[in-house]
Every structure is written in structure tokens, then in C-alpha cells.
């Protein structure tokens, strides 16, 4: 019997699966996505939004490396906001609300249209392996699909159980079955599995909400897209508002009555949930002195009747949820389309995978997304991208692609994932990044497109523009350092911007360092009219913006570059593959155990492994550096 054969099989069509398939296909490999339901591809299981603090950075990085999430988000966004806009640009983070239906439709359309990708509806029963090397998968239909790599992106579906009150239903998402075959297969092959928990809030009917009792939250006036591929007028769709409302003491009292029936408080759920995204009952329990909690009412789409109750995630009994909701003035008459629920699921603790996301045990087997114990669409997508790229590189016989913590949030994410012990689902934060001032959302293209281009995922033409932009930024920056403006040349602008006037010539770059002066305003001064460089700059607002940011943060940027130099010393101290840590007697027992388990590739990585003490690191340094 002849089997269908692909280079790479991706199990699951969620946010991780999509990026894994997209990048592999883009790198010229043949890919099959195996999914229980092809209509579930690109489904947003939880909130209908992409981005947010640090997550927005991930989306932009994925885009710069040739991923596709940013494009879907731009095409189906119904509200765009730049978070932290009142703060410095280093911590701005883009976020958008999406039309839930349109998002998955768009994803399905682009995936089906993409060359090299085949979508197959089938359930994976087991993974075929020979001599610890992947050969393909066996499906419940009886079909065997051959492949050289398998990327598992099964999300929360492995052995998933949903809880509402004390009622338990099997399944990883409302109305969808859980998948047992993969869990069983992994256990049979001596993979270690553990349980995690996540939750989702109730969905309300739009017409039943009294919006006059809420605070309207409109989007930004002139939003910027996530993706470099998004061209033409933007946003593409009509824009809507979200609405802010609050719980009160009565809400809390009603919820407390249901505590006896909470699957968490009664111990039915053993998996640990995320502390950064607690259920409403958890918030009330842990922060008893807070008299109110905010709830964002987020419309799920342009033509949708459904409103998502962001901030009210719950696994209490459905009637308790509704009773509590009705104590909120704007929601007195609320109709609940679906109650909130908690999901408990299996994940693969990450000491079992490498930085390429390939399993340590079986060659060609990769894990990406929630199966690795992360939370969030963006985190999943970033891993899908890295798994897809590395699976493809391996098949092509090339060196793996590893981003450092100093390169990208994606590098931070993967490094954290591999080296730290996780007791709750992992979410990215800007505070995870040591070099936050350099890893900005506005320079993801400058940082990463080079790699995207090398991988064949970013067109030469696109990359060329980024190189030109980079050159322009550098030239403009250097030139401004040598420009001295006379008082009569600059004071008119300074006065207008309520900035202190100058009395003798002043360096142009120094003036841009002032908070109230933008590079863009200064470059419009007559002084620069004759410079062709500045004509070019004036036509490239993104380049001017970079000059502005680089100058305003100059001292700190220099400092961070210096820190990176120090950081790289340890990163570049390579630990040989299959190094025997047990032979160093002086290492602590815990250190030996952790190092042998994780097998760090560098001294730097070793220093970040939980359980490896500073003393262990200094001993290791003595060995590695001789």
C-alpha cells in the first residue's frame, strides 16, 4: 500500500499550527495540517483580541520573520489601540480586537490558498517512529501519513476536561472533543506529562446589555498595522468601541455563595491556573479588600450578537455566574449565551525539548504552543514559527535557528520556556526582557527581517527596503550629531513647543533629546531644506521616528548594548554537546541533575536554569574556560 507522504506534518490548526505550517511551506517543504475539524483552523478560543503588552511585540516579530498572524489581525481588526502610549515608546504595545468569525475565516482562506499546504481532517491515533526517528502518523481513519517531521500543536485538547461548577465535560473547547490518542502515545513513549488549567469568561447577548451604564473605550484615531504586508488604506474594517463596567460588593457576595461548588476551591481541579489571569472568584478570594473589579465588554464581531466579558473568567456553576452578573447595573437584564468554564489539560513539561522545540528523545518530533505550557495566541504562534523553521532547516540539513534573549522577545520566550520551571501557564511580559529598550515593537523589522530574508520567508524586495531604511537612519543620526543650529534657526520651533530657547548655537541631536521636541519637527526647519539626505528622511517617517527614539534613549541604549556585550560572553562560552556534567564532582547535586536534564548549550543558558546555583555556574565557567 502506498502512503501519502509529506515533509512535515502539523497536528492541530490553531495559532501555533498555522505558523508552523506557514513557515515550513514558505521554506519550500510540503506540509500537511491534520485537524479534527478544518473549520476550527485559526479559531480564537478565548478573547477575540491579538496583541497587548509584550504580546504585541511578539506579533510584530513573527511578522518580521515571515509569519502570518499579523496579517490576519490587520485584515480582521475592529479596534486597534497602542497600549502605554502615554509612556515612552520603548514600552508601547499594539493590541487589536478582532472579528472572531472573520479571523478564522481569513486564516482558513490564506492557509488553503498557500502553496505546499494540504489540510486533512482526521484524528491522530499514534505517531510512527523508527529507531527514535519520526516516520509519520497513524490516523483513526486507518490512514498512515509518512513524514520526516511531526509538529504537535494540540493546544489544550490533550485529555481535556471542562469544568462549570461541579459538572465536568470532556473537551478542550466548548462543543469540541478532547484528544486522547496523543497523550496516550506520549505516555507510552515515556514522555512526562503534567496538568495545567485555564479558563474563559461568560459570553453575553449584545442586546441585553445597557451600554449607557458603561464607559465607552474607543480605539486609536490613526492606528498602525501589525504587518509589513498590510498595504493601502487602514484599518480595513469598520471600527467599534469596547465598554468598561465594574463589579460591586453585591456581585462579590453572590459569587461567594457559589464557592462551595467551585471545582477549584473544592479541589476538583488540580492543574494550576495562571496568576496573571485569575478567575473572578480567585480575585475576590485573594484580594478580599478590593470593592470592585473592572470588566471589559468586548463585542466579538461586526455582525456578532456575542459580547465577551473580559475579566470575569469563572468556573462557578452557571446559575451563580448569571446571578452575579445581574448585580452589575449595566448587566441587570443580561442574557448569558454561554457560561464561563475552566479547562484542565495535559502539557509536556519543557525540560523534554530543545531550544529548537524538537523533543530530546525523538528526532523530528516538535512541540509548539500550549502543549508546552504557555498561554496566549501570540506565544503559541511564536513557538509554531520557531518549530516550523527549525523542522524545515533540519530536513534541509542546515544549522538551527536560535534567537537570543538580546535579539527578540521570541528569544526570551523560548529561553524562559526551556530553562525555567513552570508551575503555571507561561505568558510573556515586557519585564521578562532584560533589553527592553532595544527590543521595541517599532524596530522588529530592523532587528529581525535579515533573518526572515535568510530563511527565505521575507522577499528580497521587502528586505531591501529595510536595509535602505537602516542606512537612512544611521546617516541621519550621524549627520544630526554634527549639526549646530543658531538661535535664530531653532528658537521659533522651540518657542512653539514651549521648550527653553537657546542663546548660542546648539547641537541638533541635543535638541531632539528634549521630550517636547520631535525629530520630525526639527527636520522640517529651513536649515535642512537643501540636504538631499533630509529630503529622503522627510519622506520616510518611520526612519525619522527611529532617529527620534534612538536619540531620546541614547544613553540607555548604549548602556543596554554594553550589557549585551557582557551577556554574550557567557552565551558564547559553548558547552560541548553531550557534555558529562556528572564528572564535575564539585557541582551541587541539584545542579548536576538540572544540567544533565536540560543540557544547556552555553554557559549563559546554564546560568538561567532553575536549580543551578551561582556557585555551580562559576565552577562550570572554570571548566569551560580552562
Amino acid at each position: 500500500m502506498k502512503h501519502k507522504s509529506y515533509d512535515i506534518i502539523v497536528i492541530g490548526g490553531g495559532h501555533a499550527g498555522i505558523e508552523a505550517a506557514w513557515t515550513s511551506a514558505g521554506m519550500g517543504l510540503s506540509v500537511a495540517i491534520l485537524t479534527i475539524d478544518s473549520k476550527a483552523i485559526g479559531r480564537m478560543s478565548c478573547n477575540p483580541a491579538i496583541g497587548g503588552t509584550a504580546k504585541g511585540h511578539l506579533v510584530k516579530e513573527i511578522d518580521a520573520l515571515g509569519g502570518i498572524m499579523g496579517k490576519f489581525s490587520d485584515d480582521t481588526g475592529i479596534q486597534f489601540r497602542m497600549l502605554n502610549k502615554s509612556r515612552g515608546p520603548a514600552i508601547w504595545s499594539p493590541r487589536c480586537q478582532n472579528d472572531r468569525e472573520l479571523y478564522s475565516q481569513r486564516a482558513q482562506q490564506l492557509i488553503t490558498e498557500k502553496d505546499n499546504i494540504t489540510v486533512i481532517e482526521d484524528v491522530v491515533e499514534s505517531i510512527e517512529v523508527k529507531n527514535y526517528i519520526i516516520t509519520g502518523v497513524l490516523c483513526s481513519s486507518g490512514e498512515v501519513y509518512k513524514s520526516r517531521a511531526v509538529i504537535i500543536t494540540s493546544g489544550t485538547f490533550m485529555n481535556a476536561v471542562m469544568h462549570t461548577g461541579l459538572t465536568q465535560t470532556e473537551g478542550g473547547r466548548y462543543g469540541e472533543k478532547s484528544s486522547k490518542g496523543i497523550s496516550k502515545w506520549l505516555l507510552n513513549h515515556e514522555f512526562e506529562l503534567a496538568r495545567l488549567k485555564t479558563g474563559t469568561p461568560p459570553r453575553l447577548e449584545m442586546e441585553s446589555i445597557n451600554f449607557t451604564e458603561t464607559e465607552e473605550q474607543p480605539g486609536d484615531q490613526n492606528p498602525k498595522p501589525f504587518s509589513h504586508q498590510t498595504k493601502g488604506s487602514f484599518p480595513k474594517l469598520q471600527q467599534i468601541s469596547c465598554y468598561l463596567t465594574y463589579t460591586n460588593q453585591k456581585t462579590h457576595d453572590k459569587l461567594k455563595k457559589g464557592f462551595d461548588l467551585s471545582p477549584i476551591f473544592t479541589g476538583k481541579i488540580t492543574g494550576v491556573g495562571p496568576r496573571y489571569c485569575p478567575s473572578i472568584e480567585d480575585k475576590i478570594f485573594r484580594f478580599a479588600d478590593k470593592t470592585r473589579h473592572q470588566i471589559f465588554l468586548e463585542p466579538e464581531g461586526l455582525n456578532s450578537r456575542i459580547v465577551y466579558m473580559n475579566g470575569f473568567s469563572s468556573s462557578l456553576p452557571a446559575d451563580t455566574q448569571l446571578e452575579a452578573i445581574k448585580t452589575i447595573p449595566s448587566l441587570q437584564n443580561a442574557k448569558m449565551i454561554r457560561a464561563g468554564y475552566a479547562v484542565e489539560y495535559d502539557f509536556v513539561p519543557t525540560h523534554q525539548i530543545k531550544v529548537t522545540l524538537e523533543s530530546k528523545k525523538i528526532e523530528g518530533l516538535y512541540f509548539a504552543g500550549q502543549i508546552n505550557g504557555t498561554s496566549g495566541y501570540e506565544e503559541a504562534a511564536a513557538q509554531g514559527l520557531i518549530a516550523g523553521i527549525n523542522a524545515s532547516l533540519k530536513i534541509q540539513g542546515k544549522e538551527p535557528f536560535i534567537l537570543k534573549r538580546s535579539d527578540a522577545y521570541i528569544g526570551v520566550l523560548i529561553d524562559d520556556l526551556i530553562n525555567k520551571v513552570h508551575e503555571e501557564p507561561y505568558r510573556i511580559f515586557t519585564s521578562c526582557a532584560e533589553y527592553r529598550l532595544l527590543l521595541r515593537q517599532d524596530n522588529a523589522d530592523l532587528r529581525l527581517m535579515k533573518y526572515g530574508n535568510e530563511l527565505g520567508l521575507i522577499a528580497d524586495e521587502t528586505y531591501k527596503k529595510v536595509v535602505e531604511k537602516q542606512k537612512l537612519i544611521q546617516e541621519g543620526f550621524d549627520y544630526l550629531k554634527g549639526v549646530y543650529l543658531k538661535p535664530e534657526e531653532a528658537n521659533e520651533l522651540l518657542e512653539k513647543q514651549l521648550s527653553t530657547k537657546i542663546h548660542q548655537t546648539e547641537n541638533a541631536s541635543q535638541l531632539i533629546k528634549r521630550n517636547e521636541i520631535k525629530a520630525e519637527q526639527l527636520l522640517r526647519l529651513k536649515y535642512f531644506d537643501d540636504s538631499t539626505l533630509f529630503q529622503q528622511l522627510r519622506n520616510n517617517p518611520e526612519a525619522i521616528n527611529q532617529i527620534d527614539i534612538e536619540l531620546k534613549y541614547e544613553g540607555y541604549i548604549k548602556r543596554q548594548h554594553k550589557q549585551i556585550e557582557e551577556f554574550k560572553q557567557n552565551e558564547d562560552t559553548i558547552i560541548p554537546l553531550n557534555f558529562d556534567f556528572l564528572k564535575i564532582k564539585s557541582l551541587s547535586n541539584e545542579g548536576k541533575e538540572k544540567l544533565s536534564q536540560i543540557k544547556p548549550l552555553s554557559l549563559g543558558q546554564a546560568s538561567r536554569i532553575a536549580g543551578v546555583s551561582p556557585t555551580d555556574v562559576s565552577i562550570l565557567a572554570l571548566y569551560m574556560r580552562g
Binding site: R286, K290, T430, C432, L437, N515, Y553, S586, P614
Partner: protein, 393 residues
Amino acid sequence: MHGYIFSEESIIDEVVVSFFSSPSSFTGEDVVEISSHGGIATYQALIQILNNYELRQANTGEFSRRAVMNGKMDIIQAEAISDLIRSETQFQGKQFLSQTTGQYSKAINIIRSEIINYCSLLELEIDFTEEGIELVNKKHLIGQLEIIKAKVEQMYLSYEKGIFIKNGIKVAIIGPPNSGKSSLFNALLEKNRSIVTELPGTTRDFIEDHIFIKGAKLVLQDTAGIRESNEVIEKKGIETSEKLLKKADIVVLVIDSQNQEMLTAFKKESTKRTIKVLNKIDLNKASQKFDACISVKTGENLDNIIKLLEQEVMRLVEIPKSSQPVVTNERHKRKLLKACQYLDGVKTEIEKDSIETACIELRQATKELDEILGKITTEEIQNNIFENFCIGK
């Protein structure tokens, strides 16, 4: 184990050999210790014999280094031990003991966790901007920062005390010529003689020696008499005295009871803690203007000077009970100073509303403390956030 060590046929020494088995020894390895009667000749003969067995002498600090490598102690403890070996006084011993027993690390750890808590407050504003959290106001933030900074500063400034402990307290005996400085110097040495290794002032134009008072080391300096002079050699001596005066921690001003007007001439030097001594009261009567009126010649009231010096020692080195341990290590002092500078940077940035750069300063301040202690991980900041704030929209 007791026995004799032979070289060929002859006995070199009667020795005690102790064996410390791994991992309970100082270095964590198997260690053999040979205690001999000493004496340079015996010692050299012993070394010669041991050299025959392909053994070598330890490098400086090698035992401590091995102890660190074998996880027997951390870097701070090792540093403290090296200081302990060099310490001469009870004060020093006490201080270093507090470092080896971890009190010192504990004090730095407390400051460090305060900085991390503080950093969480700012990180919270950045990462949870959508959470409707009541943000801390600027004035409050700066107030809290000042409190932390004061603690680092206090620790940093304790180095001065630490240095008294380590290097001794400098006591300059000054005064006009022939007021009895050298007699007093000798009398004090005589009364408190411990290890006297007199260093005559042939090269330095002054004489220095040390005594111990209340367990602290006092370095006494007998100086050339200060007065206006045109003679070249004497002028040079006087210059030296003036330099010593500037570097001294305590000044003992000795005035001749027959020439008391000289007191006014030295008044301008009152910035230093000065003990004013009227000498030769056997020749003239005492005066209220002085802290002590003595006669070195008869030994009258000499004990008063000792008492005054005791008071000064206590003021300089004794630390209030509840206070932090003292910094005696130059490397630690530099780190603490840098941490202080970074905390100043935090203030500037917060005043500019630039919390993202304030966070960089805070992390660098923490890193300085970490370099005294251990290491920082970002999840500590997050753990803090999760424990203390209600998050989750």
C-alpha cells in the same frame, strides 16, 4: 595520629598528623594536616621531604578557592575568611565572623528585596496597563526610593567604620616643639605594650606604632613639632606633620602648661576630633580649657587620656545594636557606591515620568548587590506582582 618524621635516618621532628575526610574538611576534599614544632629549619626540611612526593605548595587562597569550588562556602564567606586571616583585633574578628555566619548577606538581601519590590511597582504599570490598577503617585514613589537609598548609603558609609576596624584608627599626636609629644607617645606605648615593633622615623620624619584599646587597633603617630620655621629640614618635618594631621582620625594636641597660649594657635585644626591635653602640670597648674591635664613625667592622670581614647574608639567603631553589619571589603564598598549612584538615576528618571528607564537603573542597582551576593531573575519581580496585586482582565 602522633609520630616522627624521618629524613633518611635522622628524625626531623615529632609531629601530629590529622586526617579530615571528604566532604567534612574545610575544602571538601580529603585533607591531611601535619602539625610540627615549627622553626624555620624544621619547616624547610619538612617541605623538602614533601616535595619528594610530587606535592606542591598551595597558591595564595587556593584552599578557599577549592572550598568555593566544592560548594563548601560562597564567595562572600570566602572573602570574609581571607579578611579574617589577616585580621589582628577582636573587633575585626567579630566583624568577619558576622560575615561568615551570613548576617552580612542577610542585610544586603533585605535591601535587595526592597529594590525588587520597588521595581515590581513600576513593572506593574508597564505590563498591566489595562488592569485598572491604582497607580502609586510620583511623590510616594520618590519617598520610598529615598528610604531604600538611605539604607544602601548607610551600609556604604559603614565602610569608614569598617576601615577603622581593618586598618586601625590613626591618632596623631601634635603640638608645639618640646610640649612632651614624644614622652606621651612612649608613655602610651609603655602602658599598652602589645607587640612593639618600633619603626624609627628615619625615612618618614615621624614615628609610628600601635596599641590596642578596647580591642581596636590605634596607630599612634608622633609628629614633628609644628611651628613657623625657616630651616629647611625642620620645615619638611612640619609639612609631614600637617599631612598626618589631615589623615588622622583622632588628634591629640599636647600643650606645655608653661606655654598655654599655643592652644589658640592650634584652634583652627578643630575639624578633627581633638583631645586637648595640657602636659607638665607638675610644673604649672591645671586648666579647664583642656580635656585632660597630665604629667607624663610623674604619670599623673595618664589614665584620663586612655579613657578619652576609649570613648573615641567606641564612637568610631561601635555600632548601635540594631544596625547592619559593617562593610570592610573594598570591593563591596565600590558595589554599594555604584548601587547608590543607580538609585540616584532612578530618581531622575521617575521625575521625568520615564519608568522604563527607571527600571534599567533599578536593575543595575540590584545587579551591583547581586555581585556581592548572588543573581537576579526576572520572575522574582513577577512573583512579587502576583502576590501583591490583583491582576487579570
